[in-house]
Symmetry: C2
Subunit: 308 residues, 2 copies
């Protein structure tokens, strides 16, 4: 039997303007999983934590990811997964993605690393497909496996570009205790958007990538602005516009919805500002009668990895 | 009297996916202009070449550009402009933009360089506003003044990002002898586009900027792909899809419409391929009974400049 314990970080998908094509990696917050393989055939999933996960193995996100990978591996094994879930489902910082990412990363190591990290992203996407109702996404699993900022240039075929992140990018995330399903967040979006609006968005996407490449945190801040999706999704987040004003006044460079929400995130150029912004977020939601979890973290270049 | 002779290069706007937000600079092809200032007040424009330009000074693109700049300068001068037009109007490689760029660049030098290059872009945009019927664009004037690849992150306020271009980027441009006005090319575009399509486009825009920043010409080639505008504009270009197949088979990395057309351009990783592609373009249009001008050039990091 080969057993490995792995960590896969939480992630912020979309990064404002980069809806469905970009995601970035957080530091220190993520899921931990122990994956074992032995002779035999099958899959067992055990949940060590008090976070509620589906009893039915076919409804757990790690199942399709592991099955896709074992099908590609071509030999049968008994796979056992023990989940220590640290991110609440529905948090908007890639909870299901971190689970899928940890599962495929751990399984790959346990199998003797037959697959590249890019292939792992493809298998982990099978988990995302399960929860999104058929559309595969990699804007959380990509960064959770690879680290840094990950760009999905295209999906047919999958074209993954990893962009290293400069040292001083700090992120404050607030996960307010309200439930917004990814499905609900998708359903409010329009099918069509004005071409003018789309042009503004891809100007910002270009600015965001340029800012990352040039290490210009202020350009990243100016560009990290979503004119397409945010207008429809901010209704789910109590006092969204007011909170943006508060964190911007406190020195944050950008403030957006994380993934499909309800989490929000803010980018800062230093840790002190990011800590202050985290406090402002907590206070804001408390004033609205909503509890929240706050994560303050550097943006990290490290993705999934083996831990003791 | 202070007199200066300047060159402003031709440019390829849009670069495939970067509709209205990006443009790149060609080498060797462009407009030449002599700008003089002396005591007095007024503007004289002389056209030395056989290219037909508006007789009415108020209809010449350089006029609003120069007037905007003189208004900002705040003192009156007699300005004389002598145009040696090298790019045909309506060519799709920034003909009017090269004129506006040359005029403001030359005037700035003649006035003792009171304005930054970024400010010059704003004045040159006034010329583009005249021909586009009110909407200001900088995706040709930006690169013609600044060189390299220029990104217009946003217009309110104008946020210009200059991206240096790696050495080996070569461009083949064909200007077929057919007339497509920018106005006509704008009118065929839809007001709204599917969100799915917009997401594909900004994935490509992000890939294009990442490829430029990483110096990855193959990523640039994969990303330089326009799913939004090309489907509506390729009808103006005889045998567009067939020509793409031919140049791709010859080793070109990308093939797109230049600006609003009818010019097309192709990107190659070396000059020999770019030359071959230029010949294929010429032959293709000749077979369609259409003459064409071919420009084969490195993509250049040099914008407008003083010449002897």
């Amino acid at each position: 039997m080969k057993s490995v314990r792995v960590f896969a970080p939480a992630t912020v998908a979309n990064m404002g303007c980069g809806f469905d094509v970009m995601g970035m990696t957080l530091d220190g917050v993520g899921d931990v999983m122990t994956v074992s393989v032995e002779e035999g055939d099958g899959l067992q999933i055990e949940n060590l934590t008090d976070v509620e996960l589906p009893e039915d193995i076919d409804k757990n996100v790690v199942t399709p990811a592991i099955r896709a990978m074992m099908a590609a591996f071509g030999e049968k094994r008994m796979v056992k997964v023990v989940i220590e879930k640290k991110i609440s489902p529905g948090s908007g910082i890639g909870s299901s993605a971190a689970s899928s990412a940890a599962a495929v990363y751990g399984l790959n190591v346990a199998l003797g690393s037959p697959f590249s990290d890019e292939r792992l992203v493809e298998y982990a996407m099978e988990g995302e497909k399960l929860i999104s109702g058929g559309t595969p996404h990699a804007d959380n699993v990509g960064p959770s496996i690879l680290g840094g900022v990950v760009l999905l240039r295209g999906y047919e075929p999958l074209d993954i570009v990893r962009l290293p992140v400069p040292d001083n990018f700090c992120c404050s995330v607030a996960h307010p205790a309200i439930m917004v399903s990814t499905k609900m967040a998708r359903e409010v979006l329009p099918k069509d958007i004005p071409l003018r609006t789309a042009v503004k968005q891809w100007g910002n996407v270009a600015g965001l990538v340029a800012g990352l490449a040039l290490g210009d945190v202020y350009l990243v801040g100016r560009a990290m602005c979503d004119v397409v999706v945010e207008p429809y999704r901010k209704q789910f987040i109590p006092g969204f516009d007011e909170l943006r004003e508060k964190v911007t006044a406190a020195g944050a460079l950008a403030f957006n919805i994380s993934g499909a929400g309800p989490s929000v995130f803010s980018l800062s150029a230093d840790m002190a500002t990011a800590e202050r912004v985290g406090e402002i977020m907590r206070e804001h939601f408390a004033n609205q009668g909503v509890g929240s979890d706050i994560y303050v973290s550097k943006v990290s270049n490290r993705g999934a990895r083996v831990v003791e």
